[in-house]
Amino acid sequence: MIALLIRDLRLAFRAGGGFGLGLGFFLILAVLVPLGVGPDPQTLGLIAPGILWVGALLACLLSLDRMFALDHEDGSLDLLATAPIPLEGVVAIKALAHWLTTCLPLALVAPVLGILLNLPGPGYLWLVLSLLLGTPALSMIGAFGAALTVGLKRGGLLLSLLVLPLYVPTLVFGAQSVTRAAQGLDPLTPILLMSGITAGSLALLPFAAAFALRINLR
């Protein structure tokens, strides 16, 4: 299991492995939105929490695209399925590797982009906190979606279609907590609800994803 985690991390850090690209996407989105929307700081500050959360979500989404697909193509997934580790564990480890390589850096770099988007002062702390607590759910839900679409050519966009509605509650609570904090209101309720979703996803979705994987290998 740990070997799998190490391998996935190593693959991500190797050339072409995709580490840092989620970050790049996040950064570019934070740049594009002001370009599209216009430079008025008032407006930008208003929409900053929402845009940052949506951006983090999309960056995360894009990079989970091929979480299992690459392993499927080169036959590793067949071999992992016949290896002496439970497929549920494989899924959980893959989600963890995804979170470590994609979501964690996003959460850490988000405050910098908050400055670009003119996020009001009290929002910063809660932005990082809500991303840290919310993105594990994104990785895990994404792993489930990736498991569903693993056998398909160009499954990438179908994956987005399946996964994005599942991201809605996390997004709403996460963005709400930041918005409320930015407006000086109490951000605790939404963040607790969001953590509940994260906990539930982590507990249940590995089984659903492993089931989907087994079906797809058949």
Partner: protein
Amino acid sequence: MELRVSDLAVARGGLPLIEGLSFAVSGGEALVLRGPNGSGKTTLLRTLAGLQPPLAGQISAPPEQMAYAAHADGLKSTLTVRENLRFWAAIHGQNGVDAAMAAMNLTDLADRQAQHLSAGQKRRLGLARLLVTGRWLWVLDEPTVSLDVASVALFGEVVRAHLARGGAALLATHIDLGLPEARILDLGPYKAEMPADLGFDEAFL
């Protein structure tokens, strides 16, 4: 240690391919499966390895005892030869990466990334993986594709050593494997017959 398959039927894409197949392989034996293209060798091996359910019949050994090697080698192209092997060894809780590389003549290539290997070198690496699974039954789909004569001989020795250790091997192939002592099983007689009359229920498979 024995694999006993009785009255097995397998299907692919909703189509029965092989029916009524029974055979046994015990430790120290190698069995070569032969059959024309599309006769269902790959499907059969995948079924044995537990990757798809059989249509009917029993398989005595659980998938946990088998090491399966498919048309694709399961290599990560940005990892080196050694890293690839080490990963699979760790997954199976085994050591012996260096011995495996030595056995398949990969020691010189140990630090080369898999994407920079030629077709035959990749295959050798795929076969070296078997040595670090620690499993007694090897289930191999056309293992010597792309191998040159020397490597085929090397492979033959590796299999023989595995058999000598009490292991067993089940191999599908079209070409000569350099294993004259292996029994040969032709899948021809087990080709599935189409049922003459299709009831509405059955047509659902």
